[in-house]
């Protein structure tokens, strides 16, 4: 009896540990086939205010595609926080969708996995040619010198959104153009339970986007030209410190923002608790939270001095969503047709308008709708003063390592612990060492 019990316990131990150990299966991916030409599965990233809203927006378009081609598209909207894990699991198991959205900062990492269909000239020709797209958008869809791993779908950049009423109440006439002005304005706004600026301290990607831009402004990048991490350069340290100091030193960000990771800073903004947020295309979310377009204004993200431009005057990363095809799809022709449909001039205008993004398709970008309000700012930023995040295969590791370091520094700042150049450097040093192994 005892032996049986021991054996049972040992089996249990093995089973539980196996749950941690087992990492799924693998598959050979030698290119897609056309075994199921009448169906496609599409993982759309969550672009709108909610998964439900996205379904509502995309379903009629997918119907349109079905009417045109007879191909039925099964849609799944994947929340942003789950998307990379889902793609990774699909890559490992070989059991993924046919077509999917990817964040363009992941392009080089996913490209290295070899799971995505490379967009060579032939494939690009099947969707109307590479030169239909804005070149900077295509450049952020994979490493330099290789065929892109995806096709740009929605392009985005960061802008400074501000609450007009709060600005007027605080006697601020124009939005800040430099960081000094932003801090000064932020201090005027931070009183009576209200705060100057919002942040998403628990969101690793958002942390990376912000410190990358500040790094550029300090003349630093997080990787050198050979792709080696340089997280502890003076400029990188100064960038991270400047960002966390908005809370730790300047006190224009509410301490509670340190744990935000679900876009709570946008809710705070919509409820009039925060005066400014740095965000990509927030219009639809603000509308969903009850704001009218008159309530908020939009301006380019501040720079150290002068006007936004290249290099030290960079004020946004090239953000955006790309559409990719899993190499082992069972409907390669249909998948390409679907990408062609989604990147057609008409769909580009419609979807980018709906999501408040900028079309990466040149012809669609000319539509008048993209020349007004926040979209005009986003479009100008994209064309003149945005830089792509480092397109290195270990970009995802970089996001995790540095993003977590910044998250921990936010936690320190929120708890009132000192954030000094030394503590920032130590945190980044550790992050860099994990990259080396």
């Amino acid at each position: 009896m005892r032996n049986i019990r021991a054996a049972a316990a040992a089996t249990l131990a093995i089973s539980i540990a196996a749950g941690v150990t087992g990492c799924g299966g693998g598959s050979d991916s030698g290119g897609g086939s056309n075994e199921s030409p009448k169906t496609l599965t599409y993982w759309a990233s969550n672009q709108g205010p909610s998964v439900e809203a996205d379904k509502k927006i995309l379903t009629p378009e997918l119907k349109k595609f079905e009417e045109q081609t007879g191909i039925k598209v099964k849609l799944e909207v994947v929340p942003w926080s789950d998307l990379l894990n889902r793609i990774l699991a699909a890559t490992t198991s070989g059991q993924g969708p046919d077509v999917l959205n990817i964040g363009n900062t992941w392009s080089a990492s996913l490209q290295a996995s070899g799971a995505l269909l490379p967009w060579d000239t032939k494939n690009f020709d099947a969707i109307g040619g590479r030169d239909r797209f804005v070149e900077s958008a295509v450049a952020s869809a994979g490493a330099e010198g290789q065929d892109p791993a995806a096709v740009p779908l929605y392009s985005l950049a960061y802008a400074l959104y501000y609450n007009k009423k709060m600005f007027a109440d605080a006697g601020i006439a124009t939005p800040p153009k430099t960081w000094d002005e932003l801090v000064a304005d932020g201090k005027k706004l931070s009183k009576d339970g209200k705060w100057g600026l919002g942040a998403e301290g628990g969101n690793l990607s958002n942390n990376i986007h912000q410190v990358f831009v500040l790094g550029k402004q300090h003349g630093a990048d997080f990787f050198d030209s050979s792709g080696k991490p340089t997280f502890t350069s003076d400029g990188a340290v100064a960038a991270v410190k400047q960002y966390v100091d908005f809370m730790a030193n300047d006190k224009i960000i509410a301490p509670g923002n340190a744990e935000y990771a679900q876009n709570q800073s946008l809710t705070d903004f919509a409820k009039g608790r925060t005066g400014m947020v740095l965000w990509q295309a927030a219009a639809t979310t603000f509308a969903a939270q009850g704001m009218t377009p008159d309530d908020w204004g939009v301006a380019p993200v501040p720079v150290p001095s002068g006007a936004p431009g290249q290099d030290k005057q960079t004020n946004s990363m090239v953000a955006g969503i790309n559409i990719a095809v899993f190499k082992n799809t069972k409907n390669i022709d249909g998948a390409k047709k679907f990408v062609k449909f989604m990147t057609s001039d008409e769909e580009q205008k419609l979807l980018n308008k709906t999501y408040g993004a900028i079309p990466p398709v040149k012809a669609a970008q000319q539509d008048a709708a993209f020349g007004v309000n926040d979209l005009a700012v986003l479009r100008d930023t994209l064309s003149t003063s945005a830089a792509p995040l480092p397109q290195v295969p270990n970009e995802s590791q970089f996001e995790t390592a540095v993003g977590t370091a910044v998250k921990d520094l936010w936690a320190d700042a929120a708890a009132g612990k000192p954030v000094t150049t030394e503590t920032v450097k130590a945190a980044l040093e550790k992050a860099q060492q994990t990259m080396g192994q």
């Binding site: 005892r2 019990r5 131990a13 990492c23 894990n85 509410a254």
Partner: protein, 336 residues
């Protein structure tokens, strides 16, 4: 299925009774020697379970072990059979405690040990207390029992995400009660980041784990003869003495399994920290399973992650073996 036919006791009987079978199949059956048929039956019955166990657990585990000897990164994940062999490199990275990856793993291991000790201890304590309390019949016992079991019945994700909302600093219920209503803290505390994250995780884990202890212990208590308590109380033993001398010793075999299961579940718990904190847990609450997940899935280094998993597996096997050895010796000594 052939196995079912072979295992049918009636078939055996009719065969040994003189072979009056009519069909060809029946006539062939007696050729299987009784020795095998009788000896093999339990194994045949176990076969589906063994196959499933192989498929669901053992094969992935072996795959995981193989992965731990390979350099499995983003360059090879879609075709991981071709990842280059690296021998013990992944293991040396995992146990190099002077370098950040090893240091972080060791830190996470210690956090998990302390966390498991308190989580299992408290879950067990609450389980025992509630089980003893519910043993006596009183009005509302059934309702109370049902309420106590709710955390165990709820889907983990829904339960933990609710806790995550409650622990939010500015809008959460926990701070609302502690700070706004009771005034116990000077300012609202952080629960999901920083030092308190350990306590947040512990609270959720105990809340989730103790009903299981209660369930098992309630079943265990049913088996203790009432006469023992009656005799003890006639002899003048108080409630504490009864618990110490009768209840706890009688529950020993139950506790032995319960503590082991709670230990393994808690040590390997992934859902709770993942839902509570997301993919990067705060340092104080960096449980090893989430840490390994991060090493494998988030930083795309499956080789090192697998090596860490194998080390964890060895550790858990070792602890389980020692535990079983010690507890079975005690049992022999005590003569229970």
């Amino acid at each position: 299925m052939t196995s079912t036919v072979t295992a049918d006791p009636r078939v055996g009987k009719s065969d040994s009774g003189g072979g009056r079978g009519t069909g060809g199949a029946r006539r062939r059956l007696p050729r299987i020697p009784d020795r095998i048929r009788n000896g093999g039956l339990p194994y045949l019955l176990l076969l589906p379970a063994v196959l499933l166990e192989l498929l669901v657990h053992l094969i992935p585990m072996i795959v995981g072990i193989v992965m731990s000897f390979r350099q499995l990164t983003q360059f090879f994940i879609s075709n991981w059979g071709n990842a280059p062999w690296t021998g013990l490199d992944n293991y040396s990275i995992a146990v190099d405690f002077d370098a950040p990856i090893g240091e972080a793993l060791l830190h996470s291991f210690f956090v998990t040990c302390v966390f498991t000790f308190f989580a299992v201890g408290l879950s067990w304590l609450f389980g025992v207390a509630a089980a003893i309390m519910l043993q006596e019949s009183f009005k509302g016992r059934g309702v109370l029992r049902a309420i106590f079991l709710v955390p165990y019945a709820l889907p983990v994700y829904a339960a933990v995400i609710t806790w995550a909302f409650m622990f939010q600093r500015d809008n959460g219920l926990v701070n609302h009660v502690l700070h706004d209503q009771l005034g116990l803290t000077d300012q609202p505390s952080f629960w999901l980041i920083g030092d308190n994250s350990f306590y947040a995780l512990l609270i959720v884990s105990v809340w989730k784990g103790w009903p299981f202890a209660l369930l098992i212990l309630m079943a265990g208590l049913q088996n203790i003869p009432r006469e023992l308590y009656e005799a003890a109380s006639i002899d003048g033993a108080g409630i504490w003495q009864q618990i110490r001398k009768i209840t706890l010793p009688s529950l020993r075999p139950v506790n032995q399994v319960l503590v082991l299961v709670l230990f393994l579940w808690t040590f390997n718990d992934f859902n709770t920290p993942f839902v509570l904190f997301g993919r990067a847990a705060p340092k104080n609450a960096d449980l090893i399973s989430l840490h390994i997940y991060q090493s494998s899935f988030v930083t795309w280094n499956f080789g090192t992650g697998s090596a860490m998993s194998v080390l964890l597996l060895l550790f858990l096997l070792l602890v389980t073996a020692v535990y079983l050895l010690v507890t079975s010796r005690k049992k022999k000594g005590s003569g229970v």
